[in-house]
């Protein structure tokens, strides 16, 4: 075993910044990295064993103990729960003969929960040995496990044909469906592969490209909305031996799956976007950080890169342009939402735990291995290519004044047509509801758990209270009164996750709890606030839902939600949003459960406490406090 580990280490030149790849390769080989392996790695990489373990123990898909011949990671995003996840989970437990979080005695099956895997439009879904199984039902689980026990192979057990489009490609062969419901110019094959690079790029100087992007007012689609042209201009200005372009395909915000579809159907557009960015900024190294959940695309995407190399669109002297050397490597993640945060992503790329960096310095100043680094979302880069082709003026014809162009929405939850919708910025919530065929809507989560919840029976207290000054959501829950609110950077900003809940759903017990669990699970833990407060707030919410709450508890939650805003990165800063936005927009739900709206904290109920003793002793206690 030692030799095999050493072979892998040597493949990566014993470079500790490639620890992610080393660990991924070891997992591919045997499914886990144990203490013995860690000893070898530590020795070979010049690290202590505790340091190696620091990286391993951070990532959800790394493990020190075997996780079964077949490892099932069942997605626990809220839409999966709404579509019968509990029954599916029990079906797995019964069929495999083990509980979740454990491996069956025969070592055949390991069952594990996992955060949203980007399949909200076809859940409940699971990853089994890197292959995606969608639309799971109790019946399908039974068939699947029966088949595996009979010795069938996983690919023989895909119960439907392959998905549409490139999902059926020989290098992908996945049952995932694209569910493209509405396309405009991003989801539109109105161009020939690589024609933009071959024909349009060299017509412009790098400076001109940056100017075009600036003129178009393109803003980052990863959630934060930073002006892309400005980022490129900064990047070009900072000196460095190398300059790096990173495409962020970590897509971890529960409810988003648009990057999945872009990479499946338009990978060339995304990679072309990276080449355009490299040309504009003078970058020579390209990295695409692909979340582990999308590993099923890896082979396919690498083939596209090879094809581009053949066309001299990657490599040295691209398109014959002097000094234009640029290539792209795909880095797989290993299961950590926070790695979507750009500086955590860079740490991960350097082989470390995904702990966000303090800013300043920003990645454009000092990023990957200390070099100036430009991080852009998949959709941002693809948009940039279209802007280069059709021009800034054309682009400005779409959207609203402060939010130009289109946005890919990932719509899921209680609606008839979950999937991807490309809409102009400025589209109202009402239009979204009509588009996706949702009725009986109670609430909508805009921007994923870190966003906001808006709803039908809403009180219009947004903007009014002092608290709103604190509450700067990057996403939210919404209600009917504000259905005319528009998706835009100034009103409802969003990375595109839209989750719809109908009136049968319990917003607090099901939805908010699910979101809080998500943040508790995914925090990197570095900040005292983000490590502890979501947990403490969830306990408080439980107290209210158990009927022990008093009015002060609601105020406490609001106040504690302020404290967490001093956390380092967006994860912590938004981790209280599920609670804050549901209090702001659905306060009635809280008040309903708060004990007669008293101020007196009677969490200790003496009558209840002596109940059991009374029953046992067969006596009745007389109380004098009433």
């Amino acid at each position: 075993m030692k030799e095999k580990i050493m072979q892998i280490v040597t493949k990566y030149d014993a470079d500790r910044t490639r620890l992610m790849d080393i660990l991924l390769d070891i997992h591919d080989m045997q499914g886990y990295v144990d203490d013995e392996n860690i000893e070898v790695l530590a020795e070979a990489l010049g690290m202590s064993e505790a340091e190696v373990n620091e990286t391993i123990s951070f990532y959800h898909f790394f493990t020190k103990t075997p996780r079964g011949k077949f490892t099932v990671y069942l997605n626990n995003s809220i839409t999966a729960v709404l579509r019968g996840r509990d029954a599916v989970k029990s079906a797995f437990e019964v069929a495999c003969g083990t509980k979740f979080g454990a491996v069956s005695e025969d070592g055949l099956f390991g069952l594990f929960d996992t955060s949203c895997i980007g399949m909200n439009d076809q859940g409940p879904a699971a990853i089994i040995n890197d292959r995606i199984f969608t639309n799971l039902t109790v019946y399908r689980v039974k068939e699947l496990i029966k088949g595996l026990k009979e010795g069938k192979k996983l690919n023989e057990l895909v119960y439907e044909s392959n998905g549409d489009g490139n999902n059926a490609d020989k290098d992908m062969q996945s049952m995932v469906q694209n569910n493209i419901r509405k396309g405009m110019f991003l989801l539109n094959k109105d161009y020939n592969k690589y024609e933009i690079l071959k024909e349009d790029l060299s017509k412009h100087s790098p400076e001109e490209i940056i100017q075009i992007i600036e003129d178009s007012n393109l803003r980052g689609r990863g959630g934060a909305g930073f002006p892309t042209g400005l980022k490129w201009r900064f990047g070009r200005r900072v000196d460095g031996e190398h300059r790096i372009i990173i495409c962020n395909a970590d897509e971890g915000e529960p409810g988003t799956f648009k990057d999945r579809v872009m990479l499946t159907e338009y990978p060339d557009l995304v990679f072309e976007g990276m080449v355009v960015a490299a040309y504009a900024t003078g970058a020579d190294i390209g990295l695409l950080y692909l979340r582990y959940e999308y590993k099923y695309m890896l082979k396919f995407l690498n083939r596209v890169l090879d094809e581009m190399r053949e066309h001299n669109l990657l490599g040295n002297k691209i398109l014959g342009i002097k000094d234009f050397d640029f290539d792209i490597r795909i880095q797989l993640g290993a299961g950590a939402y926070v790695c979507g945060e750009e500086s955590a992503l860079i740490e991960s790329l350097e082989g470390k735990r995904g702990e966000p960096r303090d800013k300043p310095p920003f990645p454009v100043e000092r990023g990957y291995l200390g070099y100036p680094t430009i991080v852009n979302n998949v959709e941002t880069l693809a948009s940039a290519v279209k802007i280069v082709k059709y021009g800034a003026e054309w682009y400005k014809g779409f959207g609203t004044k402060d939010s130009l162009g289109t946005k890919l929405l990932s719509v899921s939850g209680d609606c008839r047509f979950p999937g991807i919708y490309e809409v102009e910025w400025g589209t109202s919530i009402r239009e979204v509801i009509e588009m996706c065929g949702a009725d009986d809507v109670q609430a909508i989560q805009v921007g994923g758990p870190s966003g906001v919840l808006i709803g039908v029976k809403d009180v219009d207290n947004l903007g009014a209270t002092d608290l709103m000054k604190w509450y700067k959501p990057s996403g939210m829950m919404v209600a009917q009164k504000i259905y005319d609110r528009k998706l835009s950077y100034s009103d409802l900003p969003t990375g595109g996750s839209i989750i719809i809940f109908n009136n049968s759903r319990d917003l607090l017990r099901e939805v908010v709890m699910n979101f809080m669990d998500f943040f508790i699970e995914e925090s990197c833990g570095s900040c005292s606030t983000c490590r502890n407060l979501p947990f403490v707030m969830k306990q408080k919410l439980e107290k209210i839902l158990d009927g022990h709450g008093v009015r002060q508890d609601i105020d406490d939650l609001l106040n504690w939600g302020k404290i967490i805003k001093v956390s380092r990165c967006g994860l912590g800063q938004t981790a209280a949003n599920p609670i804050l936005s549901s209090i702001l927009n659905f306060r009635g739900l809280y008040e309903k459960d708060v004990k007669a709206m008293t101020d007196f904290d009677n969490i200790f109920d003496i009558e209840k406490s002596v109940d059991a003793a009374n029953k046992y002793l067969g006596r009745k206690t007389e109380f004098h406090h009433n």
């Binding site: 202590s48 064993e49 505790a50 303090d358 833990g525 490590r531 502890n532 403490v536 001093v566």
Partner: protein
């Protein structure tokens, strides 16, 4: 030539050397900004969030942010001090800190902050989590009940080859600072004592010698934390 810059903290003018962080510049000017995870001589990492200030009305950490000319920093305000107090309370309730029986009492920065911010009853409920103690090293005890994840030991305790004795394990609420099994066995007395000294709380305790200096005569028994800086 001109390598000084001027900026303001709570409307007091601060003269700083270029490249200094806000915490360093404040200290040189007799202004105290509370810090807990920060440690002189190593790269800051804003973990504890105690030094949270507002720069041009945005939250920043003073230990990591370089001073810049013309900055307007808010530091000693009711709002920020309450956030700091709440962080101290949070650290108390999410660990198990029984000061009277702790070897570090009086030298503990967390305890000292409790006094400074006049913490009475924390606003958060106590959790009393089950956390272990690692006594496998012949030189030190690593008590997880008291660890506040400041990273000081991770950053400062290394061997000649630069390998870390301490490292993080897991993430989120499961996060822990653990001692490397192998290196922990071969720890020198010198390094073990340094580790205990650098730990702001009582999570790293040097074995064998205890309570050498009686409680009541220790650092923060005599003067509140921060008083060495404040003018």
């Amino acid at each position: 030539m001109n390598d000084t810059i001027k900026f303001k903290i709570d409307s007091q003018e601060i003269v700083a050397k270029k490249g200094q962080t806000i915490v360093e510049a404040a200290k040189d000017n007799g202004v105290y900004i509370p810090t807990l995870c920060n440690f002189e001589g190593v790269k800051p990492k804003g973990c504890c969030r105690m030094c949270t200030i507002k720069v041009n009305n945005r939250f920043m950490t003073a230990c990591t942010t370089p001073a810049a000319a013309g900055m307007e920093v808010e530091n000693d305000s009711a709002e920020l001090n309450d956030i700091r107090k709440s962080i101290i309370e949070l650290l108390f309730v999410t660990g198990n800190h029984f000061c009277p029986s702790c070897e570090k009492s009086g030298n503990c920065e967390l305890q000292a902050f409790g006094y400074r911010y006049q913490m009475m009853v924390p606003r958060f409920p106590y959790n009393f989590p089950q956390k272990g103690i690692d006594a496998s090293s012949p030189k030190i005890i690593k008590d997880q009940n008291r660890c506040i994840m400041c990273k000081r030991c991770i950053k400062t305790i290394k061997d000649e080859e630069g390998r870390n004795y301490f490292a993080f394990q897991n993430r989120g609420s499961e996060l822990a600072v653990v001692l490397d099994k192998k290196l922990g066995k071969e720890m020198t007395d010198e390094l073990a004592k340094l580790a205990m000294e650098n730990c702001p709380v009582g999570s790293i305790i040097y074995k064998e010698i205890g309570f050498e200096k009686p409680i009541g005569t220790r650092k923060y028994d005599k003067q509140p934390i921060g008083s060495e800086i404040e003018v």
